[in-house]
Every structure is written in structure tokens, then in C-alpha cells.
């Protein structure tokens, strides 16, 4: 079972996205404790597309129920290649005075998923990100592939 919907590529779409995930969680009776992590990863990926993506086409988000968790797929049309599974490293040990908030979003993502995949079609210029999160799994230690 899955739900899918397209969202305008603008920050103002975030409340609609969270309402969509809330409805999907309720409809498919997904483990509610997964939702903060799933919403976090969706927000970080979506805001990255809004801020840095070249295209303006809507982003499609689908949520699929798994036996013990959830799988989310985000499809970005008009996309340039950008593998979100290999973000630039962030030094989280620096003192406050030297810290900048940028890039923390992509840094956090692998800590809150079990697995994340990135695929890109150069011919269609479509980026596709799929991540999975299961109930009972710790926050850290996701795997990535491309």
C-alpha cells in the first residue's frame, strides 16, 4: 500500500507535506514513533531541492508501508545530478564560534534512516531518492548506495 502526491517546490509546501505524511501514517497504521525521523529526512531532502535545485517542477513524494516500517520515495524532475548520500563532511567538533548551520541537514539524514538510495537519469534529468526506516531500529547506522 502506498500514497503519493506532488508538491510545489517551495518552502511553503512543508505544512502540506507534513499533513500528507500524517494522513499516510494514520491510513496505513504505521508506527507513529517513526514519523519524526521520516518527516525530518523528507524536510531536509525537500528543502535541499528547493534551495539548490535548478528546476521548478513539483516534487513527488510517495510513502509505502513495509511489514516493519516505511519506505519513502522522492522524485525530483528537472534535476541536476547531486548524490545526497555522499554529502560534504561536516566537522561537528568545532566550537560554537566556528560553526555554521549549513550542510547539517544532509549530514543528519543517514543517522535517521536504515538505508538510502540515490538514482539519477541523465536523459530524463530526474533524480530519485528512496529511503527506508523500520520500527525498532536505532537512529544511527544507515547504509547508502547509489
Amino acid at each position: 500500500m502506498s500514497d503519493g502526491r506532488s508538491f510545489q517546490r517551495e518552502l511553503a509546501a512543508l505544512p502540506e507535506i507534513f499533513a500528507f505524511t500524517a494522513a499516510a501514517y494514520e491510513r496505513h497504521r504505521l508506527a507513529p514513533e517513526l514519523r519524526p525521523s521520516v518527516d525530518l529526512v523528507i524536510e531536509e531532502l525537500f528543502t535541499n531541492m528547493v534551495k539548490y535545485g535548478a528546476g521548478r517542477s513539483p516534487v513527488n513524494i510517495s510513502i509505502m508501508s513495509l511489514p516493519a516500517g516505511v519506505e519513502v520515495t522522492m522524485i525530483e524532475p528537472d534535476a541536476d545530478y547531486f548524490d545526497v548520500t555522499t554529502p560534504p563532511p561536516v566537522d561537528i567538533t568545532r566550537p560554537a564560534a566556528d560553526r555554521q548551520p549549513g550542510q547539517l541537514g544532509l549530514h543528519l539524514i543517514p543517522r535517521f534512516v536504515d538505508a538510502i538510495d540515490y538514482a539519477y537519469s541523465p536523459a530524463e534529468r530526474i533524480g530519485r531518492i528512496t529511503f527506508r526506516k523500520s520500527a525498532g531500529a536505532g537512529s544511527a547506522g544507515g547504509s547508502t548506495s547509489c
Binding site: L11, A12, L14, P15, F18, P36, S37, D39, L40, E43, E44, T47, I92, T93, R94, P95, A96, A97, R99, Q100, P101, L104, G105, H107, L108, R111, F112, S139, A140
Partner: protein
């Protein structure tokens, strides 16, 4: 949706501090000075946009010998603070 209350001892944020609420949260925290306590016991959600608000506020307060202290921090928020290294920058008190 994020609710912000200025109490006598702390600022209390309730709800979700995400990218759409970050500017409003920043405006509220920009009015603070000294050692500021942020009661997070009602904060259900925090993204990197919210972390940016906390960092900017803490750096401003630090420059005047103050700082930002978080109380009532849930397990999920603790994870976010830990993975971002903010638990080493800010004073963090877990929820009871």
C-alpha cells in the same frame, strides 16, 4: 505549527520548529539577552533549520557572555543535537 511563550524563567516552544517556522522562532529569540533557558518539553520536532536558529542565538548570546540552555529535551531531540554536535556546544538537560 510552533507556539512560543515568553515566561519569567524560560522561553517555551511547543510544536514543530521546522523551516517554515524558523524565521518566527529567530525573531522571538532575537529579543533575548544573557543566559537564556529554552524549555523544549513541548517541542515535538526540530530540523536543521531549527538548529540554525539555536546556533545563531547561542553565538549572539555567547558574544555578550551569555548563552542558550535547553531543558526538557526529548530522546529524539537529543539524538538530533548529538548527531549535529550541538550537545557539545549548548547546555542540554534531558526531559524527565
Amino acid at each position: 505549527m510552533l507556539s512560543i511563550e515568553h515566561g519569567p524563567d524560560a522561553i517555551r516552544m511547543t510544536g514543530r520548529l521546522d523551516a517554515t517556522e524558523a524565521a518566527r522562532a529567530q525573531s522571538a529569540l532575537d529579543t533575548t539577552a544573557g543566559r537564556v533557558t529554552l524549555d523544549c518539553s513541548g517541542l515535538e520536532y526540530l530540523s536543521s533549520a531549527g538548529l540554525g536558529v539555536l546556533l545563531k542565538t547561542h553565538k549572539r548570546l555567547l558574544a555578550a557572555q551569555g548563552g542558550l540552555r535547553l531543558t526538557g529535551v526529548s530522546r529524539h531531540l537529543q539524538d538530533i543535537l548529538s548527531y549535529s554536535g550541538f550537545d557539545q556546544i549548548l547546555e542540554v538537560e534531558a526531559a524527565r
